[in-house]
């Protein structure tokens, strides 16, 4: 008898409205997206443990590395067991992570914070991140970019919600924030437990023979043929093990790595960067700049990913990486000319950064089919872990070297931005090299339409 968590118990009945599924994904991603608000805990944790910023920063790094590893190694398990079981496992890990971390704070054991928030919570991040993606792609085969954009927008929004909420809780539970860490973590754990449980309850997978009205796989081929360069039309439904043996997988890995590394180039240093560029920008205004970047990151995930359904995955990545490189060049050459130019340019770059995250599952679906797209996506997320380590290392090492050379202000970032231009160009070339696997996308529209007529 199947457990209530099994995939078979989540198959939607005929006529189920597919728009009832995205909030389940959003609930999970909004919860785990809290990880990008971890910086709010940094100051209080440094004071509480009388530790260095680096020692506390390791917590976040462990979480991101575990995200990539658990997504890579857990992806096939998620595909096999379905989204509900994956969401429950994710919720258990994510919430347990907060509980163990708060125990570490209470008992003054920093290693428990590493273990809790970093390792256990990080596993929850990875499983939770990929859990709804393939399900949404199966519900929206006609608009996979919109589907993945909706879900992954939640991850960007998670920090927007968690950041002010955490600050509020830290202020309410005690006079000093460092004395309020444990109760704040416990409160967040309770909120996320409810949200993720609701998501797991609501999630439904479509029946194997379900398709949106008017949609057939042949009609998808017609649509692909009308949009040259879309990248659709691989041999349907490759397994994750087959996919990682193709050059296309590693080209997409390179694209994601470059896109994330370049985005981190701004994210990592946003607040001090704008103050170094413009001496009259104070700390409050710098915080506003960071907030604006977060908004653009979130909006880009939905807007650009949805746009990719119309213009195609390959062209949209050419924009992310090509225009992104040009914008980094603008920052490097003319960033000091006005605050407005600097802010707008950085915002567009961050919207591309978010868009790159959200569009990649749809790109994978185009190339490898929907069969194990979640597992393939999980393996691809190791690029995120690698970029999460490489990006800050590059930016901080370059900044340190520039300071050692006696540079200051905007000059501190010129070399970093030039490196980012190079990284974006590498990603652009990798995207240009992506070819469909198999022949269907190469068929002319007329031929594909003839196939549809024959089938109908």
């Amino acid at each position: 008898m199947p457990s209530i968590l099994d995939r078979e118990r989540t198959v939607a009945p005929p006529g189920y409205n597919r728009w009832l599924v995205p909030p389940a994904a959003l609930a999970v991603h909004l919860s785990i997206g809290e990880v990008y608000a971890f910086s709010v805990f940094k100051g209080p944790l440094v004071t509480h443990f009388d530790s260095s910023l680096t020692a506390i920063g390791v917590v976040f790094s462990i979480a991101i590395v575990m995200l990539g590893l658990s997504a890579a190694f857990g992806g096939t398990w998620v595909e096999r067991n379905g989204p509900r079981k994956a969401m429950v496992v994710s919720a258990l890990c994510w919430v347990s992570g907060f509980l163990v971390a708060s125990l570490g704070v209470t008992t003054n054991q920093l290693w428990l914070v590493y273990l809790g928030y970093g390792v256990i919570g990080g596993i929850g991040l990875g499983i939770g991140y990929i859990s709804p993606v393939s399900t949404l792609i199966k519900w929206f085969p006609d608009r996979p970019g919109l589907a993945t954009g909706l879900a992954i927008m939640g991850f960007g929004g998670g920090a927007l919600v968690a950041s002010p909420l955490t600050s509020e809780l830290l202020g309410r539970y005690a006079d000093a924030p460092e004395d309020a860490i444990a109760p704040t973590m416990l409160t967040l754990a309770a909120i996320y437990a409810v949200m993720m449980a609701l998501g797991a309850w609501v999630i439904r997978v479509p029946a194997a023979d379900w398709a949106p009205k008017g949609y057939t796989s042949a009609s998808a081929v017609v649509a692909a043929a009308r949009r040259p360069g879309l990248g659709v039309g691989g041999p349907a439904d490759m397994s994750a093990n087959q996919a990682i043996r193709t050059p296309q997988f590693w080209l997409l890995w390179t694209i994601l790595f470059c896109n994330v590394t370049a985005g981190i180039g701004i994210l990592e240093q946003a607040a001090p960067m704008i103050q170094d560029f413009f001496a009259d920008v104070d700390a409050t205004e710098a915080a506003g700049f960071v907030g604006l970047l977060s908004l653009c990151n979130m909006a880009g995930r939905f807007v650009w990913s949805t746009t990719s359904d119309t213009i195609g995955r390959k062209p949209i990545y050419a924009i992310y990486l090509g225009v992104g490189a040009a914008l980094y060049l603008v920052l490097s050459l003319a960033g000091t000319s006005s605050v407005g130019l600097f802010v707008v340019t950085a915002c567009v770059i961050l919207s591309f950064y978010g868009g790159g995250f959200a569009t990649i599952p749809a790109y994978l679906k185009d190339l490898f089919g929907g069969f194990q797209v979640g597992a393939i996506h999980g393996r691809l997320l190791t690029a995120w872990s690698a970029a999460g380590i490489a990006g800050p290392l590059v930016v901080n090492a370059v900044a340190d070297a520039q300071i050692a050379d006696g540079k200051e202000g905007a000059d501190l970032y010129t070399l970093s931005f030039t490196i980012m231009v190079g990284i974006m160009v590498v990603g652009f070339i990798a995207n240009a090299l992506v070819r469909s696997i198999g022949a269907p996308a190469a068929k002319p529209a007329a031929s594909a339409e003839a196939e549809v007529k024959t089938e109908s």
Partner: protein, 44 residues
């Protein structure tokens, strides 16, 4: 979308899904409004 939920047993999940749309909408609105308050400092 004109589809409707038919079989028994999924109605409560459908209602919960609508409620979840509202919850995530309110949460995002809270996050965005708090962020915009900070942003106004930049351009204010």
């Amino acid at each position: 979308m004109s589809e409707e939920v038919k079989p028994a047993g999924t109605q409560s999940a459908a209602i919960a899904a609508v409620a979840l749309w509202v919850i995530v909408g309110v949460a995002l609105a809270y996050g965005i409004s708090e962020t915009l308050q900070k942003v106004t400092a930049l351009f204010g």
